[in-house]
Each structure stands twice: as structure tokens, then as C-alpha cells.
Symmetry: D2
Subunit: 345 residues, 4 copies
């Protein structure tokens, strides 16, 4: 059994890790930390876990974490970068679900996250863990930066187009929408049911922290700078991201081979499902599942490629992808613990 | 008192007309028709109207409708085009909330609506009733084609940009999202709560009936053909449309004057509210109200203008705009019966 | 014009008061206070009010409030009892939407609200403002304690049964359900969309602050002590309360006259609607409206009277009833400003 | 591998069976029937199952079903009673998720379901499959009538009280609330998102088909007739039932031992969780899981026992309990395929 620790377990990604790991046959969760809730049994905070875990939240303790094979960070930004170096020295492997190690340009990081980065060394060494792009590097990594939720949905949908150089990289638009769990589990007035329910809005339209992460990833796929406009929106639901992507085809004749291109690109990917041309993926078709489903569209008289891409922000957009990365890192079957279909309806 | 008839009153736009007209001081609703529910009191179907109306649904009868000053059609497409000519001859004025008279190119209409148009004469004479564009023509019109819900939100947001020729008219993108009431009140499995709730998806991404209507309106504003990509989405809520619009500024320096331009363009419009630059309009801020609120955004290093525009699809996107048109047609105060603030939360 | 002040305007009852008063023809809101948001325009916090109010929140100032004809308190408990005495001395009339003056037994009050009452004199003089019971006293009152949301729905439904002594007063059960806006607008984790959405639960099942208020009101109607079990539940929606009430008929033969009894009891009440026997009132039929709708049911082989009673917790359960009380106090038409039908769908 | 057939697979219980069985290690689904959708791949209708099943819906064919080890009926009432006798003759075992074999009194059945029962012989032999009551009979049964959703939540909560004779059996009240998936997946206007969303109501308050089933089960537990009032309500969410149960304790002193009694009664039950006294079970704590969670409450000065009981109507209230019954019938571990924690949030 692989011994796993979780730092920052009271948020939605924390409980989602516990939910997934509860049925993972090769994992034993040996500690889960929370400064604010130390001592409280996890099943008291999350009654869906009653009968599954006897653990209580504990104060984060590097000695205890250092005895784990792998530690997940499910913390706000700024925490992992301070604790990771010591764990690295102890030989522990880490999957960081926070944003601390996602950006390679630390000036950009500092600018968006409002603090200086405290572990430039590991920021450089960290592997940005999108398995569909860098599976082999993940296998060997000691530190994996788990991608953000929006960046996962957006990158996967644009990837085949950019890798093949079929679209104008300067004119990418990603109109993305997320359920409320993406904002985490803090008592913010703006995230109350009375504020979020029965309403829809854009937010961060003038700039969102996931924009530089998306830009970095797409530039990598494109082999050069990209111009991408990214607008997130808040959906009155709990789980799910849909990203509608727009790109301008350099040669309209390429439309005919796009579907085949996408299907080939992801043919061996267990967690990316290219649906038939003209399909409309629903977020519920991936609820609770580590899946990205996508479909292509074209409107008459248009050379705009439209891609609709959906994930569950807490699974393929966070905890599920983290477990996928862990499976890769430890040589387990990549789908282990991640086989269950989505919960629909 | 102006005598009003409503044809097709059992759907959501029908009940919304009744809700609004219940407090309109100059209107008396003298008949409301429904083939399927003839004889049923409207307050039995819509208990929110108990105490407000003694009317029952009746069979549509041109003699009765012909005695009205104005008739609203809240019918599926294909109904109004058959009944309108006779009402026109009887001197009745009509606001048609259906799609029958919105498009000027009847080949396009036939193509999207799957039938030949049966009243080409009145399709030509009909005024497309977006008051912010053609108020004077509405005043004099006998037949007003009330705009669609998406087209209202999209056109209002793009108007200032296109009228001033500031953006590339060939590269317009409208990513629009609507609550479920936009699909009407028919027993379709796809619109069940169990299907719509807690899920989000694009639909009609390869082509939607509102696309030609949007294209017609934007071409008018632009003074020439436009290239517009329009993707609608279904939000798990009841009322509200948010459209996020993307356009490429010809001259990035123009960014500095966009806010003032929008404010001036709509300064005298009682039902268009330009919020401060960088705001995020919420659909709930217009729920139940005949308002369009919009705001502008810019992302760093980008010459894409982003406009977020929200309306209540049943009000400014249907029944409210119809009453606004009626007020204009009869020389009433344009805001009469439409003064109440939105219901928030 | 009647000059109105509102203390504590940032919560949901505050904005609801503003929404209703925006179309009230005899009212001018002259000040609205908030310690935390002093200086912020109300329309910045509540964009549905843009164009309706130029007011900004101000620090509470007894001098300013003392110049009003009427002051609404939309504050947490414990605030009104401290400020009311001074306003009373200044001759201002007050409708307190908080719980401060609802209970006559101040030991009970202290027990449930966790503090000693600081204005026993005015607690005694205050009129518990359920117009359907004590309209004449409200007319003459200087201080009205506006009833709680649950107590309004529960009392109205039980009233005719208890006033006529038809049911066993020792065996009353009120199973009540409320939307999330009833919990107010504070940043509590338990009220996040991610916690409330797509879930349902009882809360306060072992005892809730509205229980003594219900007991007091029902005892008054019954002319003696009552035994009532009250369990509130949280519905994943924003507005609306449904209370299903169970009472044991002393004489089953009385079933035949219950419908007539209820209809007569509320025949002259503008805001209570007794629906036909066997109807199922929906909360949406009163959304945004100052209405209580109710209906009676009987199951075969049973002498249990079932009453289903619905209100909008923010309207007939709070701000609407407060305006109704104000109308009565100032000799206005009781329905003034409260005529609009509910928002459905 | 046990070969399983499903009759009537297009509804919500059908897809839920498929979701659960997809990860069941001992089961192979060999056919799934649908008259209306014959030929359509199940994964086209339910995209969450893409990659999990290659099956298409087929016409129901007794020869094919007769080759299965077990057949689930997920059909409307009236179907199973016609097909079951032939399957019984073929030696197939059946779990019927419909209401056909739940009631022992066929006059009562005929009265509530509006048709004569066509298989009295098997109605008598069928085992009413509530494992917590008749596990041994289920083990040996050829035909199991899977309990209804409401009856499961209500019976489990009342069981310990009635079995021990602690409460007045003539005065039971069950106020139950369900998400919309309980109404199935048919295109009924009343179940549209626009009708169900943001609203709450009682329904069937004068009598519901689950009432006689509840009465039969509780009478069995009580050892004599019971008087039970049962009112169902519709919650604006998809999955979940909460039942708040009220019973009058014969001897108030018994309150002290109720918690222990409940805990002992269900100590060996893998799918019933008695939470600490005074807890408030949330439906989300069992979403997607085959669990019933319950808690006890008492209000001061009261001898009413309050039990709050929650299940997922599609799992412990339908497909999950059906799989649990199947596991018992085939001597598998009772929890096999049912181990995953609920999806929260």
C-alpha cells in the first residue's frame, strides 16, 4: 500500500481526494491536516465519509508527512511552496493541487498571486502535470504541479489544433463556465446560495489567474507565443466546467479532417473522450468522473473552429487528475480508482 | 383603456405578459386564447394570477381579436403569419413575439423554420421592434416583430461598436447562455428538471435560429455584412440570458473612449444600463425587469473588446419588450407598467 | 410623502424593503444605514436598484432617523431593542423586522436569543404585527414587531382551526421548509451554494427560535396553551416557505365544513388566498408577492387535517408584511405598493 | 459472472442500474430493453456510460431474458406483472423495481394503480425486499419486489419504534420530500425545470400510491394496524429524499434509550447509519450511495419522537437496493459494487 498524506483537507478538493481514495485499492491515507479543524474526525465534517475513514484532521507535521510516500497539497496558494522543499529533501513525492508550482515565469506568478515565490528551485523542477502532454515526465517527477481546473478544460480542447499549427495562434478565445465549487469552501458572501443561485455572470473578465497558466500551456503546444482571451463565468450549480473554444482555421479546407485529428490525438487517452462531430457535451456526463469530453462544431459560412469541452472541476480539474498523476508516478494502472462512471442524472 | 388580446397564452411568454399587464394602468386584457386549454381560467393554470384576472382561455376567434386595439402573439412560429393579415385588415395593431416577422429574407426564414412564409407582404411591412434602434418606426407601425431573446442581448451589446465602425465586422463572437424558460413550456424530456438541473452545455452550436436574426440586425448596424459566430448554452436556472461578446478593435487606441461611447449611445434609453468599466452584470440584477445591463472589459496585451450583456429572456427578451413596444405604439410613457426593480435575490 | 428610514439595509430584508418601496407611491426613503458599508451607494451593492435610488448607506444616526415618520429595523436581534426607546421618545413609529419585540415573555426571549432584553417597557407595548389577527391594534401602534417568516406561514394556516376549537391543541405539528435567503446574507460556510445546492435537510429540529413565537401566537388563537412540534428544513432554493401543518380533528364530521370555514375566515384578507380543497400551493406562486396561499387536505380513514401554507419568506414573511403594517399604521390602502403578482416562472 | 438483463432501461432507474453495475465485479449485463429506443446504443442516450458499455437497447424478448440469471424490471407499473410469470417458469430470478409486486392486498393494489392485477400467484409469492427486515427470505426468493423510494426512507426510520411498541401506532406522521428524479424521465410539463426549479410544494397530499405500501410495511413491524399520515413534497433538486417522521412516545421516559435502541437495531446493517442524537442528515451525504442515514430529535416539553431519515431515491430507494437484493440472492458480499462514498459536494 502506498502511504498518502493530504495537507489542507477541509476544502472541496480535500474531501474529493478522500472520496476518490476511499475506493483506491493501492492507497492508504495516513494523515490529513488542517490547522483550523485539528482533532475533528473527517467524517464529522463530511458525513458522506462516515464508515470510510477513522482519521481525524491533524496539525501539519513535516515529520509525519515525511513518512508518507506521497503528499497531496490541497491548500490555498502560498502554502505548498513553503513546505515542499523540506518534503523534497525527505524524498517524499508531492502532487500540489494549488497554483504554487504551475507557472515557470516567477515574475508572472508573483504578479498574479501577490507574493514573491519562495521556492524558485522547485518551481523550475516541478512538472506541470497534464498527463495528456507530459506523461513520461510525470512518471519520473518528484514534484508535480497539478493543473488548474479551467486550464485543463481549455488546454485539452485547443491542443490538437495548436500542435498541428492549424489555427491562428493569435486569435484564441476561451469562454469558460464553472460551477460554484471551483471557488472553494470559504465563507464568502459572494458564494452564498442566495447570491449564486438562479443567476449567471462573468467574473474576472479583465484578467483571471488561470490566464497565464493557459497561455503558458498553449504556447508550449503551439511552439510560440499565443494570444488568448479567457473569460470565466459562474454557473448556478456545484460541479462542472464547460469551455467553449473559438479558433480561426488558417485553411478552411482543414475542417474536413479535424474530427479524425482529434480522435487520433486522444485515441490512447483513457480520460479524454472525443464525441461525434456536432455533439454537445454536458457537464453532468462527467460529474464525479475523471473525464474530459469534447466535441467539434462548425457554423455555415465560417472558418471558426468551435470546441466544447467539459470536465468536473473537482475531478479531472483537481483531485481526479491528481490521483491520475499519482498512479502514473507510482507505476500503477493509470485508471486505478478512477473507473466509476459519472453520476447522471 | 387600451383593449388587448393575447393569442397563445399558456406558454411562459403568455403568463409573463399577463403578469406585466396586471399592473399596467392603461391596459385592459379582454381575451387570451388557447386551443388546448379553452375554458380553463388563467388563474387555475397560473396561480400567481389568482385575484388578478377573471379571464378564462378561449378559442382564438378573429372577430373577438378584431375588436381589440392591440393583439400580442405569444405563439410558436407559423401561427401569427396566418392570422395577422386578417387582423391587419381589421385595423388591429399587432406585436408578434414569435419569429414569424423578424427576418426580411424569406428564403432564410423558410430555411431555418422549415416552412414557406405565408405572409410575405406583412413580413416586408413589419417593423423589427428593437426600440433602441428604430423607435420612430415602431411608433407608426401596425405590425411589430418583437425581437428574439438572444438577439436582443447580443445586438444591444454590439451596437455601439458596429455603428461607429470600430471593430472588425468579420470577426464577431457571441457566446450566449440562457435559462431554461427560453425553451418554452412544452413537455420535452430534454427540458426536465432531471435533465437541466446541475448541468451546463452548449446547444445549437452548429447553427441556431437566432443566428440569422442576429446577423440581420448586426449587418444593419454595421452598414454591411458581418461575420458572427453565435453559440447558445443552457444554464441550470429559469430566467436570464448572459451574452459575452468578443470583437477585435481595429485601432487599440480606441479602447480609451469605449466606455464613454457606450454611455452616450444609451444615455436616453430607459432600459439599457451601461455599468462601470470592468463590472460583471448578473442576470439576477434584471430578473423580472425590462432591463439590459452591460459592461465592458479589456484583458492586458489584447485588442479584443469584451462586452457582457444581461437581460431577462422573458422580459426585455420577450414580454417586457413587447409591452415597451406597445407603449411606444400607443404614445404612452415608454416605461409604463415596467418600472419595478428586478427581484434580487 | 411619508419619510422612511431603514436601519440595517445590507441584508436580504433590507434590499427587499427597498425593492418594494421603490414603487410605493406614498413613500420616500430618506436614509438607509449600515455600519459596515457606510458611504457605499445602495445601487452598487444591489445593482437591481440602479436607477431607482441615489441613496448611499450611512452610519446609523438617531438624529436623522428621528426625523423620519417611520423607521424599519432590518437588523440582527439585539439592535432594535437598544435604539427603539429613543426613537419612541422622538415620536417616530417603528416596524421592527427583527425578533426583538416579538415575544411577550422576556425570560423566554432571553433564553432563545442569549442575552437579556434591554427594553422591557417597549417589549410590552409592542404590537405583534400579524394583520390578519390584530389589524386594529396595528393601526394605532407606535411600535410593531413584524412576525417571523415561519411563524407567519404556520400561524395563518392553523388560525381558523384553533380559533374555532376544532382540533386538539396539544397535538399540532408544523413541518416547515424554507429557501436559503431566510438565513440572511452573512458569509457562513453552511450557506454556501456548494453546501446548500442539491441537498435538503432538517435543521433546528431539537429547537428553533421561531418555536416560542409560534407557540405564543397559537396559544393566543387557541385561548390556552398549545403543544406544537415545529421542524424547519432548508430547501435548495432562494425564496419561499412551505409549511405542512397537521392537526387532529376532535370531531371528524367537522371535515365537511373546514373549507367554508377557512374561506370565510380570510374572505376580507387581501393577502391570504384559500385555494380549492385538495390544491397544492407552490412557493413560486407567491415569489416576490405579499401573499399567503393555503389549501386543505384529508387522507382516507384519517381525522388529521392537513394544511399546506406558502409564503415568500422575504415578502409576507418579512419586508412585504412590514410594508403592509406600515400601510395600516398610516391609514393608506393596505395593498398599496404590494399589488404586483408573483414572479412565475 | 452473473448474467443480468434489464427491462425498461431508458428511465432514471435504468441508467442508475447501469451506472452501479458498471463497477460490479461479478456482473455482466447481457441485455437491456426498450421498446421505444430499440437499436440505440445506451451510451448515446446516457453519455456518462460512454466507454463502459457497448450495449444497445433491444426489444424485450423473453427468450433472451430467459437466458439471464437475473432480470431487473425498471418499468412503469403493469409491465412486470405480465412478463414475470414466464420468467419464473424459465427459472430466472427477478428483482422488480416497479410497484407490481409490492402490495399483498390486490384490491388495494388495483384501487391505487387503476388496473386489475394479472399475476396474483406471484404477487403472493413475491418477497418485499427490504433487506433490513427480511434478509433471509430475500436470499431464497425467486421474485423480489424492490421497495419504493419513500417507503424505504419512512419504514427504516419508524422500524425500531414500532418493533418495540414504544409509540402510538395510530398517530404516525411522515412528512417526506423528494428530488425530481423520483418522477421519472417522461416529458411531463409539471416536471420541467421551469416548473420545478426554485419552487417547493406538497403533492399527493390527499393520497399517494406509496401510502398503502408504507401502511403495509409499518403494520408488519407493529404487529397490527397503524394509522399513518404521509405527505410527499417536491424539492427543486434531482436526487434525494428526506423524511421527517413524528411519533408519539407512549412513555416519555423511553426517550433516554431511543438512541441506543436505534444504534443496536442497525448495528449490523451496512447501509443504515444512525447518526449521533440531534444530527441533521443531509441528502447530499448519501447522493449516489446506497445508504440511509438517520438521526433522532426531541423538542423540550414534548413526547414526540422526531426522526429525520435520508436516502438517495435512485440508489437505496431504487437501483442500489435492487443490487443489494441481488447480492443477497446470489450469495455475494452484500456491499459488492456499492462501496463508493456519496458524492459531496
Amino acid at each position: 500500500m502506498i502511504k498518502v498524506g493530504i495537507v489542507g483537507g477541509t476544502g472541496y478538493t480535500g474531501v474529493e481526494l478522500l472520496r476518490i481514495l476511499a475506493v483506491h485499492p493501492e492507497i492508504s491515507v495516513s494523515c490529513i491536516t488542517s490547522r483550523s479543524e485539528a482533532g475533528m474526525p473527517v467524517a464529522d465534517m463530511y458525513p458522506n465519509l462516515r464508515g470510510h475513514y477513522d482519521l481525524a484532521f491533524s496539525e501539519p507535521d513535516v515529520a509525519v508527512l515525511g513518512a508518507c510516500d506521497l503528499v497531496f497539497f490541497a491548500t490555498p496558494h502560498g502554502v505548498a511552496m513553503r513546505m515542499v522543499p523540506e518534503l523534497m529533501s525527505a524524498g517524499v513525492r508531492v502532487v500540489d493541487l494549488s497554483a504554487d508550482f504551475r507557472l515557470k515565469d516567477l515574475d508572472v506568478w508573483a504578479n498574479w498571486y501577490g507574493m514573491a515565490h519562495e521556492s524558485p528551485e522547485w518551481a523550475e523542477k516541478a512538472v506541470y502535470g497534464l498527463p495528456e502532454v507530459v506523461r513520461d515526465e510525470i512518471r519520473a517527477a518528484q514534484l508535480v504541479a497539478n493543473p488548474g481546473c479551467y486550464p485543463t478544460a481549455v488546454q485539452l480542447g485547443f491542443l490538437p489544433l495548436l500542435e498541428q499549427g492549424l489555427v491562428d495562434p493569435a486569435r484564441l478565445i476561451a469562454d469558460a463556465k464553472s460551477g460554484a465549487s471551483g471557488a472553494g469552501r470559504q465563507g464568502k458572501i459572494g458564494m452564498l446560495h442566495g447570491e449564486v443561485g438562479e443567476s449567471f455572470k462573468a467574473y474576472g473578465a479583465s484578467g483571471h489567474r488561470h490566464l497565464p497558466e493557459i497561455r503558458q500551456g498553449l504556447s508550449g503546444a503551439s511552439g510560440g507565443d499565443v494570444g488568448v482571451t479567457f473569460v470565466p463565468h459562474l454557473i448556478p450549480m456545484i460541479r462542472g466546467i464547460e469551455a467553449t473554444l473559438y479558433a480561426e482555421l488558417k485553411n478552411p479546407a482543414d475542417f474536413d479532417r479535424l474530427q479524425a485529428l482529434f480522435e487520433e490525438r486522444f485515441a490512447d487517452e483513457p480520460f479524454v473522450d472525443v464525441m461525434p462531430f456536432g455533439s454537445h457535451p454536458e457537464t453532468r456526463s462527467v460529474r464525479g468522473a475523471n473525464q474530459c469530453r469534447m466535441a467539434l462544431h462548425r457554423q455555415e459560412q465560417s472558418n471558426i473552429v468551435i470546441v466544447s469541452s467539459v470536465i468536473d472541476n473537482l475531478v479531472k480539474g483537481a483531485a481526479g487528475q491528481a490521483v491520475q498523476n499519482m498512479n502514473i508516478m507510482f507505476g500503477l494502472k493509470e485508471t486505478m480508482g478512477l473507473e466509476a462512471p459519472a453520476l447522471l442524472p
